[in-house]
């Protein structure tokens, strides 16, 4: 067992599935010899060959469309979008074909594919490289949207995503690609999709997050503990469809909840979680639901990105405000 980073865990999961399932095919821009611009596919072409780890022409709509054709033939394409900011040409295929093919053929043609994309801010990247638009995908029926927050989850969830019989948008929080290492055993054991993970148990307030923001959220929970506030922390992981049972169970216990997300506030995953809690657990609430999120602004270029992104302090302020309700 070795301690590996989140991106190394992605690579390990991809390698595991290439090794054990001959229908798995990786493709995208620069994924071959270069191993991807973040090195997610590093060494995979050398091991598995150019027929299974394929550099494509530079066209994102085509990448998604090729995945549709290959999946319809029963292959398991894993397509890389170099950055989520470049996924929009592929949106037509994702929305009109990938998400719908099973339904529009009544199950005759299915789309067992993964579309991977690094996303999120905080790495001083060029414009269009830092947005968090997961809600766009979560809004589309027929897609699963999965976001790992740490190395072991990246490994287990990637395995599950590739093995899933339906299309998964797998968004990788690139800010945390390399900031922590986990001991991850390359044993082929997947984690469940459509399941939240309770990363810290607590009785006073439920903090809910996913992706890179899990790190700030867990730090905030420790600081709250030092002040005598016992926070439960939930990693949503699959942001669509959401495992609301785990969230509701926690909220019924604590009566207080704060959602933490990097994405803009309006029409977001945080909005959906807040609405579900309001629908199903409002009588358990002791305080209004809080949301700490990015602003409803264009994601700024890097000079201002620190001002945009939620911080530990913002989480602490909101959690304490929620705790003030008696």
């Amino acid at each position: 067992m070795a301690a590996i980073t989140l991106i190394e865990a992605v690579t390990a999961a991809l390698a595991h599935e290439l090794e054990h399932d001959k229908e798995v095919i990786l493709f995208g821009e620069d994924v071959g010899k270069n191993g991807g611009v973040f090195r997610a596919t590093d060494g995979l072409q050398a091991t598995y060959g150019e027929e299974r780890v394929i550099d494509t022409p530079l066209a994102e709509s085509m990448i998604a469309g090729l995945a549709v054709g290959m999946a319809a033939q029963g292959m398991k394409p894993v397509a890389e979008m170099q950055f989520m900011g470049f996924i929009f040409p592929a949106m037509e295929h994702i929305v009109t074909q990938v998400a719908r093919m099973r339904n529009r053929t009544r199950g005759r043609l299915t789309m067992p594919m993964v579309i991977r994309a690094p996303y999120g801010g905080g790495i001083h990247a060029p414009e269009h490289h830092s947005e968090s638009t997961e809600a766009l995908f979560a809004h589309i029926p027929g897609l699963k949207v999965v976001i790992p927050s740490n190395p072991s989850r990246a490994y287990g969830l990637m395995l599950a995503a590739i093995r899933d019989p339906d299309p998964v948008i797998f968004l990788e929080p690139k800010r945390v690609y390399r900031i922590v290492k986990h001991e991850v055993e390359d044993n082929g054991e997947e984690y469940p999709l459509e399941a939240c993970f309770v990363d810290r148990e607590g009785k006073d307030i439920t903090l809910i997050s996913w992706g890179a923001m899990m790190h700030e959220t867990l730090i905030a929970a420790e600081k709250l503990a030092a002040e005598g506030i016992d926070a439960e922390v939930i990693d949503v992981a699959t942001v669509s469809p959401i495992d609301m049972e785990t969230i509701l169970e926690s909220v019924r216990k604590t009566g207080r909840v704060c959602v933490v997300q990097e994405a803009p506030k309006s029409g977001s995953i945080g909005s959906e979680i807040a609405a579900e809690i309001a629908e199903h657990a409002v009588m358990s609430l002791l305080a209004p639901i809080g949301r700490v999120s990015g602003y409803d602004t264009v994601m700024p270029y890097y000079k201002l990105e620190k001002q945009y992104m939620p911080t530990v302090d913002r989480i602490l302020d909101e959690a304490k405000r929620i705790m003030e309700y008696k």
């Binding site: 022409p57 085509m62 549709v68 054709g69 009109t96 339904n103 009544r106």
Partner: protein
Amino acid sequence: MTTTTVASFEIKHHQYLDADGKPTQELPAFAKDMDKMRSLYRDMALLRAFDAKTYALQRTGKMGTYPASLGQEAIGIGYGDCLTADDVIVPYYRSTGGLLKHGVTMKEILQYWGGDEGGSDYSVAKEDFPICVPIGNQIVHASGVAKAIQIRKQKRAVVTEIGEGGTSEGDFYEGINVAGVWNLGVVFMVNNNQWAISVPSEIQTACETYAQKAIAAGIEGIQVDGNDIIAVRQVAEYAIEKARNGGGPTVIESVTYRLCDHTTADDASRYDNKDVKDEAWKNEPMVRLRKYLEANKAWSDKDEEAMNAENAKKVEAAVEEYMAIPKPGPELMFDHLFEELPEMTKPQREEAIRRAGGNK
């Protein structure tokens, strides 16, 4: 420093029968087989009869919007005749001819355009795609299918179809480009019927031909007289054989004319030119094939009558089957969304069923 020509190109146009059904060059062997030619004529006539019936069904509220193939029957019947069960069609909305030839039933096509996704659950051509509604997506899908076939080292061709307007979409270029780079076994059929709903071909492109768009992808582009089924079939057969045998992709532009509205929801009299259309009627594919058959003493008025009666019977039988399909239940909205419906969505399924049952 010198200036040289580094590449140059030409586009060939193929025609075997002129508008009067007279050969314009030595005919391929299949065209001299009168049984084959009669059977192609019958297929085209059946498609025309089917289209006419769907219009009637739409006008009487028994079906939704439908795009007919009037005047363009030689294309789908032509390439469809060259396919085997192992080949794959990735169709668009005006691919009825090709799909019928590949075993998709008239009942299924009626069911689809009658508003029921169940019509795309083909009973025979199980790997063919459902028709593509967003313009151009099918071009890239066809390349994806062909990539899977190539990886598996199978000898199967993929045929996809698009209107000339659709070639303005980025997906058209992206799909043919990757097919060229990877030498994929796809035949890209461009139905140049002169109209993208109301937008005429001259507003669509500055290219002299649509076939030449293939040149920018480094693949072969051929133009055929799309009203001459011998030309369509001959060139499609060449391209399909080539696709099956590792020879790579081909773009085939079939020049024809849309004699019908874009769909039942369109009124072409708002924008088309009556004189041009009258002229186009003289060029349409069935008249010329009938003249050719008659000149070879392979067709008579009696044959025509018998065929029309037989086709009407086939279409009626399909309509009866279609009308007998029970209305889909609301659970179908949910049951093919994923292999397993998410927990979150289950209460919605129950509600839809409960409310459809009249228990409000």
